[in-house]
Symmetry: C2
Subunit: 315 residues, 2 copies
């Protein structure tokens, strides 16, 4: 089973793109054409989301290495939402995309095992085991410490999967806890730096041929100064970088997330791509997929251009 | 819409019990009688879990105020697991139990809104809104700060729901981050104390007639010293206390979680009740529900006896 980080980098090189497309479907924001096509029921919402996502995937799969469905936007709609999530994951994988589930799961060891088995591992039945969501990687929360991470590490190594641990999140109030100054070994450092040290340690046994580990980190595009520090603390971690676009992160802000080899960061955008048809007046409502494709092409250009300026573009 | 903390305390008084029964179904541990009755498939697992839980609920609903299904053990089995979760929630509520979903969800604001709407609030469709999981309360993770909590607070107040924020979790490595010493306003305190201060603040607008807030805290039974400190820092927060039983927490350990009024803590046990038939040799495999009932009766007695010793028993 190949290493996750190696698989990811292979796709990045193939597509010449550091972009990951978030899929955060919100029935309220879907194109009228889709909202109308389905009955006003939860079942209809699930079908509308599936169609929306599959069309977005068709429009972008040749342009990016990876997609990031945010499970909150699916489980919100119950069974029908989870069905749409599963369909999205399957369709994305069929199209050769690496699927990173944004779930921010975590719990004590025995419970973290259940999460890991369901999302990236396999669940045991009486006579055999089966995979359930089978995403390529999942985001996890570090607040419970190593106990809650170890079951995921087990499956990362067993099944060639990845995790991205929240370190410094993109939202304004990430400062409430993550920026607190902690005292450790008589030194003062920020809590996010402390988490970064742990992430680096947790990733030591999951390194691929590329030198990158399958244990990555979530680092917000909205905090370029912090990213610079974190890049040094976690040289082997791939960064999953949310906050580009709608949340305010710019192309120049994310350069610090890259290593000197020109790799190490996957830049996520969700709303600015999913709902590009609302802001880009060249497109009509039913042309949402074309609008998303244009937004991705633009984002690829912006990021590649910024990398070129920094002499970090490797293709 | 009545206040969640008030509803909870009413049920605690009615049942004369401070116990919450965790429902953590694991197909591997289910009684042979149930495993055999269903085909070896994910669908069969879902049906087995539903039957297991409904029988457990039948056995304990007169004895305890509340149940706590841990969503990880359901979503692990995909769609069929989520169906079993929904059935468990519905059946528990039918039987008059307060259902606290252990989900430890959290994310940035817009995503936390999606979680909150799905789990404790309502989701919008074109012409109306519907409730999905509709649990009475949910556990949440504080690592993302206030942004990720506010959407839940909105629904807590709008729909008479509750949240329990992770403060000091029951697992050994909760020390990795939660016990770090942080510097705040020139004082040194533990990270869990810092979170406790936030929880107290977040709960200020959700107090009921009882004086308790619908914003509670998760405090592990395995850390009685820390509980004493936390009880003072969050006088108005109801504590959800995991770690009793299998994880090592004893009745004498949890007294510090109570206030001087004899309320303020809901003591959780999952595995020691769900799988009591495995350790209590008086019961055969198919008598799992009777074994669970006995385990709950014993736990109620242990806790009430300990409260009586401390002169905190109020019935």
């Amino acid at each position: 089973m190949k290493n996750f980080a190696d698989k990811l980098i292979k796709e990045i090189k193939k597509k010449k793109s550091h972009v990951i497309v978030g899929l955060d479907p919100d029935y309220d924001k879907l194109p009228q054409s889709l909202r109308k096509a389905y009955a006003v029921s939860i079942k209809g919402v699930g079908a509308a989301i599936s169609e929306f996502n599959c069309k977005l995937i068709d429009a972008v799969y040749e342009l990016v290495p990876s997609i990031k469905p945010q499970i909150a936007f699916y489980e919100r709609y119950g069974i029908e939402g989870v069905k749409a999530f599963i369909k999205t994951v399957e369709y994305g994988k069929q199209k050769g995309l690496i699927v990173i589930e944004d779930a921010k799961r975590n719990d004590i060891g025995s419970t973290a095992t259940a999460y890991s088995e369901g999302h990236i591992g396999r669940v045991k039945l009486a006579t055999h085991s089966v995979s359930i969501y089978d995403v390529d990687a999942i985001t996890v929360n570090p607040y419970l410490g190593a106990d809650g991470i170890n079951p995921f590490l087990h499956d990362v190594n067993k099944y060639g999967k990845g995790i991205f641990v929240l370190v410094k999140t993109s939202n304004p109030s990430s400062k409430d806890l993550q920026d607190l100054e902690v005292v450790y070994n008589r030194k003062r450092l920020k809590l996010y730096e402390m988490v970064a040290r742990l992430v680096n340690e947790w990733g030591n046994n999951s390194k691929g041929n590329s030198g990158y580990s399958s244990v990555g980190a979530v680092v917000g595009a909205t905090f370029p100064k912090e990213a610079k520090i974190l890049r040094k603390l976690m040289p082997q971690a791939y960064f999953l970088v949310p906050g580009y676009g709608t949340q305010g992160g710019k192309a120049s802000d994310i350069i610090n997330c890259f290593n000197t080899d020109g790799y190490g960061a996957l830049i996520a955008a969700s709303r600015s791509i999913n709902y590009a048809f609302k802001s880009d007046k060249r497109f009509k409502d039913h042309e949402f997929a074309d609008a998303a494709r244009e937004a991705v092409i633009r984002m690829n250009k912006e990021i590649n251009k910024e990398l070129q300026k920094a002499k970090l573009l490797k293709w």
